[in-house]
Symmetry: C2
């Protein structure tokens, strides 16, 4: 397969590869935004590459495999390695194109409760391909985002993971709460973020209202208050995650976009953790390539080397 | 004054008293909902009682004294007793009616950070009037709501208080998040609430996503998930508040509407706390009457007995 894609909630991204490198891209609506069926949306988006897609098929990860996606791909169970993951793919034909859908992962989180992911597993297995040091021993990976994932990787397998509602909570507070407000007054934001990291220990419900009270009483800026909220949330995520993870390593691997990774690295430093950073897009593509190689080798009758 | 009122964010409620009892009520839009000026909205709402209002004046508490209200009444500082509170009222004339506005309170919260309230102080001082046991010694009062307040009362004075974003957070999650959904499927809600109370210890960001994962993996109902979120939030509020309050008493006084007080009493019981319950409306009216008596006696040249 030379066409790979990541179909998330907010967008569909298709990559065309030649010799292992991305040579072209297409973008379409996310699973959460489509107005026609997933199949019709997919066919319309891939139309410019139709001939190549019909010839070689397409591999998709992310929400494409959810109940609202192209076809439901049940979660592979943790602990999961790339072979188990590849073994749970689902295929369907759309407009003469064979579309293979990667499953997500399910398992018990750090607190022993049910948890799920769709899409991040591709980045995780891609990260192991990009950074061979991750293939051996125990590592803690953090994928910041709407639903941040903390992942315990043991010898290249996803042993367990835990979802934090951090990014979604920040968007809710910014866009819909009495603490948020239209307008991008960013003055004081960096200072607020540092203050938020420092104050995250008292609990989220107990600390968020300070974003309002400090504006009323201490004349703090709206930008400072937004930074404070961000610091309280991300600092809270680190405090909760490290308490749950138990025996935490002295470094974490951050997988995500550079701006978000910057602020997570700041939070990690505040907790005395070193960081290794991998680009989220590079990990998606590496993970899809790894999955495609698995599927090809399986069809050829042998497992991944 | 025989006309008293509570002008909050969501509604204006006016009470007409005779012999200490409420004999009539009027309702108008909240400060957060008015489309004309606060003064014009007030004049239109009170029109049916205009003659009485012009004769005796009106006393208002709540958001009427905020920056977006009738006239800004700066916060009285904690520790605050009714005399200090009454001393910080502001008066203004609207349509020939003398309107007196109660201030809110400000102070350092349980974590030593700035905090504010507007309206709850009226219920608190009203509660002391209704339950004389509160006038002596140290008591912990809890006023559940959009912004829940935990109040340390010492000898009838508000020593300090702490705001928790619990009610607003629940509304954000229910109305705007990926965890909420339209429709009132309440099956399993009570069970979810109890599960949420029990699981609140791991932190809010770490536990909320289970509301989604348990529906996908364990077949839990949407009602159970909503109950879980409520239990995680209220249980989280109790865990954070009791850790911050330090030397917590073995009972708390709950001030609020009966339905919300029911579920807070359940959370209190889960933490081994007994509860004394006072009706929120009765406390508002008792607090306004107490403030009116203070103002009358001050005008006559003497303080409250």
């Amino acid at each position: 397969m030379t066409i790979l894609g990541d179909w998330g909630t907010t967008r569909l991204r298709l990559f065309r590869l030649e010799g292992g490198a991305v040579v072209d891209r297409l973008v379409g609506p996310g699973i959460g935004q489509i107005t026609s069926s997933p199949a019709a949306t997919f066919a319309a988006t891939i139309a410019p590459w139709q001939a190549a897609a019909r010839g070689g098929g397409v591999l998709l990860c992310g929400m494409a495999g959810s109940r609202n996606g192209v076809v439901e791909a049940p979660y592979a169970s943790c602990p999961a390695d790339p072979a188990a993951w590849a073994g749970a793919t689902q295929s369907v034909e759309i407009d003469g194109i064979r579309v293979t859908i990667a499953p997500g992962l399910s398992g018990a989180n750090f607190a022993g409760r049910a948890d799920v992911m769709r899409g991040e597993e591709t980045q995780i297995f891609g990260a192991v391909a990009l950074d061979p040091a991750l293939a051996q021993g125990r590592h803690l990976l953090v994928l910041p985002g709407t639903h941040s994932k903390w992942v315990e990787l043991i010898d290249g397998r996803v042993a367990r993971f835990h979802t934090f509602m951090t990014g979604e909570m920040f968007a809710l507070l910014r866009d819909h709460s009495t603490l948020g407000r239209a307008g991008a007054d960013v003055a004081g934001r960096d200072e607020g973020f540092v203050d938020g990291l420092a104050r995250a220990g008292t609990g989220l419900l107990a600390s968020l209202f300070e974003a309002r009270a400090a504006q009323l009483i201490e004349g703090r800026s709206h930008g400072w208050a937004m930074g404070l909220m961000s610091g309280l949330l991300i600092g809270g995520e680190f405090a909760e995650a490290l308490a749950l993870a138990g025996d935490a390593p002295d470094k974490i691997t951050l997988i995500g976009d550079p701006a978000l990774s910057d602020i997570y690295a700041q939070a990690a430093a505040a907790h005395g953790l070193a960081t290794v950073r991998l680009d989220g897009d590079a990990c998606v593509i590496a993970g899809l390539r790894r999955l495609a190689a698995h599927l090809t080798s399986t069809e050829a009758g042998s497992g991944e080397a």
